[in-house]
């Protein structure tokens, strides 16, 4: 493929799944249909704030009056397996 501007030879690169044709002479770039939109979408993902952390019960500060010791750790839920019941139900 030849550059539509200077007729130099164009090389194809692959950037994040987008084919980019770049002229070896004038460095001009040619995009296929839809590729500009793909790049725009990739760019907006980069600038988006990170998703809010998932809300865990224990990650909220403990309600006043119930507290949590300094050596404690937040509740993670769904752990009622293994020796859970034995340790809660026997000496």
């Amino acid at each position: 493929m030849q550059c539509p501007k200077c007729h130099g030879n164009m090389r194809t690169y692959d950037r994040n799944g987008v084919h980019i044709d770049q002229c070896e002479m004038c460095r001009g770039i040619f995009l296929d249909y839809g590729e500009l939109e793909t790049l725009t979408r990739l760019e907006s993902n980069v600038h988006q704030p990170p998703p809010a952390p998932q809300q865990h019960y224990g990650q909220a500060p403990p309600p006043p009056g119930y507290g949590q010791p300094g050596w404690g750790q937040p509740y993670h839920g769904h752990r009622k397996h293994g020796s859970f019941a034995r340790l809660l139900f026997s000496t």
């Binding site: 019960y57 224990g58 507290g67 949590q68 404690g72 752990r79 293994g82």
Partner: protein, 295 residues
């Protein structure tokens, strides 16, 4: 016939109830069986009869009416003390979130605020002794031995059974967990197991759920239900409002050490690795001792 089988036969005869004996527990030297409508317990061989008699008198005392299942009989049978109790329905271990936490809290609050009954020499309630035993029983070189002993070493002397408990003078169960609660037909929920009942720091009775909460294993909602009910019933082990942890910190740390130590000892004997729940208590020991920074 094994000694246990002989004992069960003697206990069944003593129970004098309809039904075949069903062994409920043979842990820590005690044997508990159910025969029809009653439960028969052969207490540990080293049980002091005077202490057990005093404990039976405490739970029968009118100030505590409705708190404990009351013994139907207490006697010496050969070299063992045997007691008979009404059989009840235990708490289902399937979903601790729906356990009768409020009932438990109210019963404990009543126990803790009851006047000390005049029943002769009151025993010291369990707690520190068991933590000391748990750590003493750790097999040398067992996994996490360092973390557990370091957390234990950081506890005050009274929590390691090396000094008198400073907050004595209250009645306490001494070994409370969800297995120490049964529902008696037509009567309601009652505490069971009097072997560790005595005077001591009542906060120790809240230590099991407190340790589970601190390990991230007990939902904050469940913890709140338990504490709210305890406070509403006038329980005196924690302040009526505000942060309960100044009162709970040492007993909950000690219970964490105990749970981790018993788990490590048991899995060492069985030649198995710790499961995720047991690891969480070892992790808590690391945080208690400050060793998590070195991990």
């Amino acid at each position: 016939m094994t000694p246990t089988a002989e004992l069960v036969t003697a206990m069944t005869r003593f129970a004098d109830a309809d039904g075949d004996p069903e062994i409920l527990s043979t842990r820590s030297g005690a044997v508990v069986i159910r025969v029809g409508r009653v439960v028969v317990k052969a207490h540990r061989a080293e049980t002091d009869g005077d202490v057990l008699t005093a404990q039976a008198s405490i739970v029968r005392h009118e100030a505590l009416r409705g708190v404990f299942a009351e013994p139907l009989a207490l006697t010496r049978l050969g070299d063992r003390w045997i007691s008979i109790w009404p059989a009840g329905r235990p708490v289902s271990p399937d979903d601790p979130d729906v356990a009768p936490w409020e009932h438990a809290a109210r019963l404990l609050a009543r126990l803790h605020t009851a006047p000390l009954p005049a029943v002769g020499r009151l025993p010291v309630s369990g707690g520190p002794v068991r933590v000391a035993q748990a750590v003493a029983g750790l097999p040398p070189g067992a996994v996490a031995e360092k973390e557990i002993t370091a957390a234990y070493a950081g506890l005050p002397d009274w929590a390691r059974d090396r000094a008198p408990v400073p907050v004595a003078g209250r009645l306490a169960h001494g070994d409370w967990h969800l297995g120490q609660l049964v529902h008696l037909d037509g009567t309601g929920w009652r505490l069971i197991d009097i072997d560790d009942v005595g005077t001591g720091d009542p906060a120790w009775d809240l230590a099991r759920p407190a340790a589970f909460y601190a390990a991230g294993l007990l939902a904050p909602e469940v913890w709140a239900r338990f504490l709210d009910a305890y406070r509403e019933a006038g329980g005196c082990a924690i302040p009526p409002d505000g942060d309960p942890w100044p009162a709970l910190d040492v007993p909950a740390k000690a219970m964490t050490v105990q749970l981790a130590a018993f788990a490590v000892t048991k899995t060492h004997e069985d030649n198995r690795p710790l499961d995720e729940i047991q690891e969480l208590f070892v992790d808590a020991c690391r945080r208690i001792s400050g060793l998590h920074h070195l991990r």
